[in-house]
Symmetry: C2
Subunit: 300 residues, 2 copies
Amino acid sequence: MPLLVVGTLGLDTVETPNEKRENVLGGSAVYFSYAASYFTSVKLVGVAGDDWPAEHTALLESRQIDMRGVQIVPGGRTFRWRGRYRANMNDRDSLETQLNVIAKFDPVLPEEYRRCPFLFLANGPTALQHKILDQCAGATLRVADTMELWIKSEPERLAELLKRIDGLVMNDSEAKLLSGNENLVTAGHAIRQMGPRFVVIKKGEHGAMFFSKHETYVLPAYPTPRVVDPTGAGDSFAGGMMGYLAEQGNFEPRTLKEAMAYGILVASFTVEEFSLDRLKRIERQDLQRRMEEYRKMLSF
Amino acid sequence: MPLLVVGTLGLDTVETPNEKRENVLGGSAVYFSYAASYFTSVKLVGVAGDDWPAEHTALLESRQIDMRGVQIVPGGRTFRWRGRYRANMNDRDSLETQLNVIAKFDPVLPEEYRRCPFLFLANGPTALQHKILDQCAGATLRVADTMELWIKSEPERLAELLKRIDGLVMNDSEAKLLSGNENLVTAGHAIRQMGPRFVVIKKGEHGAMFFSKHETYVLPAYPTPRVVDPTGAGDSFAGGMMGYLAEQGNFEPRTLKEAMAYGILVASFTVEEFSLDRLKRIERQDLQRRMEEYRKMLSF
């Protein structure tokens, strides 16, 4: 089944302890879409300036990602993010975030987009996430991501959003902030009680946790020795997870757990190079191979 | 098969964000032995002062832990540790460590102890660990723990120790320090190449990793919502792991992975209350039940 994502298209400048890359392809919707494209057809909703290189659009289209929902604002400047990773490659400092064209983005979705059954609201202003939900009233599965900025700046709008979605995906520090609880198990269930039927907490190099009324579980990250750039790992995780759910066309508990595992595995490839460089060189069968290793790792 | 452990008997003063306990039963060999006692008979080697409450010895003996290897030094004072946990309950500050009677501990093992096939050298001075190895030349499986203090203060003695043992267990920050590498997968294999046939890296609330020549895997922690006091989690992990190996009488790859899982599960009980309070109220069948849940959690 088709999957709709709304989120950022970005140009990232990333510094790691070993290397620096300037203005490389990034953004939550970009990582998400590429990761999901191994499983299903994706429709992307986003905005860019006319500094957005046409080759980026061509790359995403080569993966059957529908880019008709992307607005290019004449004279506008694309969202930019600059960050620096610490030695542990798990913590990072955001040095600069330029919203640019995103600040005034007010999407009107094409009719075909509105009928998309699977919907993911990647990180972005909560008001924008509400607008998308308004236009996709009939979606079967609505999942959102959020971040510190919105938890702190628009707590009420976010509280309303949580009542309108089926699932919420966020990282561990955000879950602690939103719930006011330092224990992730308690935090996950507290957030679930704010509205969503399930909550996923991403723990970076330590994997991800899942919470629903009847289930609590954690799956570890795939142990890759090669962590070059963690940017986009969380969005790739969400893309792999939602892509697999859309492919399977359901979100039964068993499918959700498999989807979590696929999310973890796509993310484990993403971090092995900068930007989408590693994902560009893998196919579904590479995910399949790593899944076999992963299942073996977890069975005893 | 019987299991020998040498390590500390301690009196801990622990502060968590919610509570404080003074002079409670602790120490690496105590947590280790109690955890291992669910699986096998344990012989404990350690030292205490005459301030050591007889009830602690009685408690351990009630678990069939052989305390004949414990010296009580007349007029001596037992090892004491005082620590404070931060809000996340994973990081802690050691406020005070009094070695006391441990500083001059020079054990001579009873003949029966020397023939113990399974041996664990809990955290302690590297010179002391060497002395135990000298006396247990015929042990089948020799595993050690170490910590920052010894990595920094006795790097050469530790390098020699690594060549004399089969397995090393340590936490993530210690593994990074010892290997000089921030990626835990790379760190684990680098340490393995320093001598031991296998390396286990404990990641606290995030589980544990295993490294041997042919295997690399990570198992997550059991997600308990109830973390009251993490003290002794690492030693309980090691006790559960070694106890299970000793019970099974082998350390084949498959047994090692099951042992890792049991270590994780015993530790998940330890943190649910202060000191040994939670372990005192569980039996092997409680571990078994949690193991069933854990296996289910990891299968999909």
